[in-house]
Symmetry: C2
Subunit: 241 residues, 2 copies
């Protein structure tokens, strides 16, 4: 996790070490293990219905042990949400850094979002259902990250409209329609089923770009098969339980 | 509400009288008032965090009074979900009954879904977030209605593909992408804001149809301005609180 640029950073919980370090500490590994389990339980039975005792049972970490890694259930929810937005944004900015063409940037945005969240479906459901469960500074911090991500998406869509000289679709509707198409996958998509993430991303890209660009002639040149190597995109490291 | 065609109908709670009667009984009016309030509270603080006491406070109906209208909090959740799917399906089937052209049927499906749920945003959030909160027969009953609705949507999309001789988009992805675009509105759309439901429906229709039909020549003829008269589409009757 990148250092958090906040004047109140001392109040905002964070991993002790950088989450992107290839050599995570034992502490970070254990915290990630706890966060991953917490995300699954929050996704299954909701944040409010989950107790720290449930998380203790699921992880085989004693209650006292859990409080060594976080001060509260709310801090677990914050770390899950903050880590997800942090990682998906970081990965996107890296992939966009040397791409100038607006349609290519949009294609990368869609592929990045879908492949990341297909690998983190429980976390995606928690981001969606528990967006309002945080309070105060923790809520504001995650909310700012989400706004940054949404603004980035909207900017990419505006650049496509400017380049293609199309304006038929309202930009706000287009932005949230795109997020809706992508985020809804936690309700139906099975990452272990017959439909690969590549197929999912290619179909969603074709569906959205086709409608957004209104059959623009340059569309087909952007829809070439862009299959990517499989990567480990889980927001957490370490072995799954 | 239509009579429920279930072999176990005696176990499934329902309104005593038809919900589509223009002359609802006082009992039905009061039950609808309670259900509408319950939907708002479930949407705001989640089903699991809501107590019957919360609903009693919000409605000024005593706890004993509430139990005159429903046997449990779960029954309230069931009636909200069942009534929503029942009403949106009923309205859709009525509007589709004399329309044969697949693209027109798809346009009507989108308009019907968006206008209905824009008028019932709290209920939409409850349908989305509390889909798994019902148990046993109540869960199965709502789940069957939802499957019927999804199958109808998928059938309309398949008919469009057959008519237009297009097959570039996977039908499962297209169906859920469409539901995602539409259902996500509870996260961002303000029915009282500057963007009208008509504008929302027209933009979503253009976005989805454009991508799904891949710039088919016949698309534009279907995208004529189809502004509809404003209707009262709240799933509940009677005065708002």
């Amino acid at each position: 996790m990148k250092e958090i640029p906040s004047t109140k950073s001392s109040e905002i919980p964070q991993f002790r070490h950088s989450a992107i370090s290839p050599f995570p500490s034992r502490y970070d590994q254990k915290l990630e293990f706890i966060l991953r389990a917490a995300a699954r339980i929050f996704a299954n039975k909701s944040y409010h219905s989950t107790s720290m005792r449930d998380i203790s049972r699921a992880t085989n970490v004693s209650l006292a042990g859990l409080y060594h890694y976080c001060s509260s259930k709310e801090e677990l929810l914050f770390l899950i949400q903050d880590n997800c937005f942090g990682r998906v944004l970081e990965r996107l900015e890296e992939r966009l850094s040397d791409v100038a063409d607006p349609v290519d940037r949009l294609r990368i945005f869609i592929e990045n979002h879908l492949s990341f969240f297909a690998a983190n479906m429980a976390e995606m459901k928690v981001l969606s259902h528990e967006a309002d469960s945080l309070q105060g500074d923790l809520y504001t911090h995650v909310s700012n990250r989400k706004d940054k991500y949404t603004t980035l998406a909207r900017g990419i869509l505006r650049a496509v409209q400017d380049q293609q000289e199309i304006e038929s679709i309202d930009l706000t509707i287009a932005t949230y329609a795109l997020f809706g198409m992508m985020n809804w996958i936690y309700n139906w998509y099975d990452p272990n089923g017959s439909l690969t993430v590549n197929q999912l991303a290619q179909n969603v890209t074709r569906l959205f770009l086709g409608g957004f660009m209104g059959g623009s002639a340059s569309l087909e040149t952007h829809l070439k098969d862009s299959s990517r190597q499989a990567e480990n995109l889980s927001v957490w490291r370490g072995p799954d339980r």
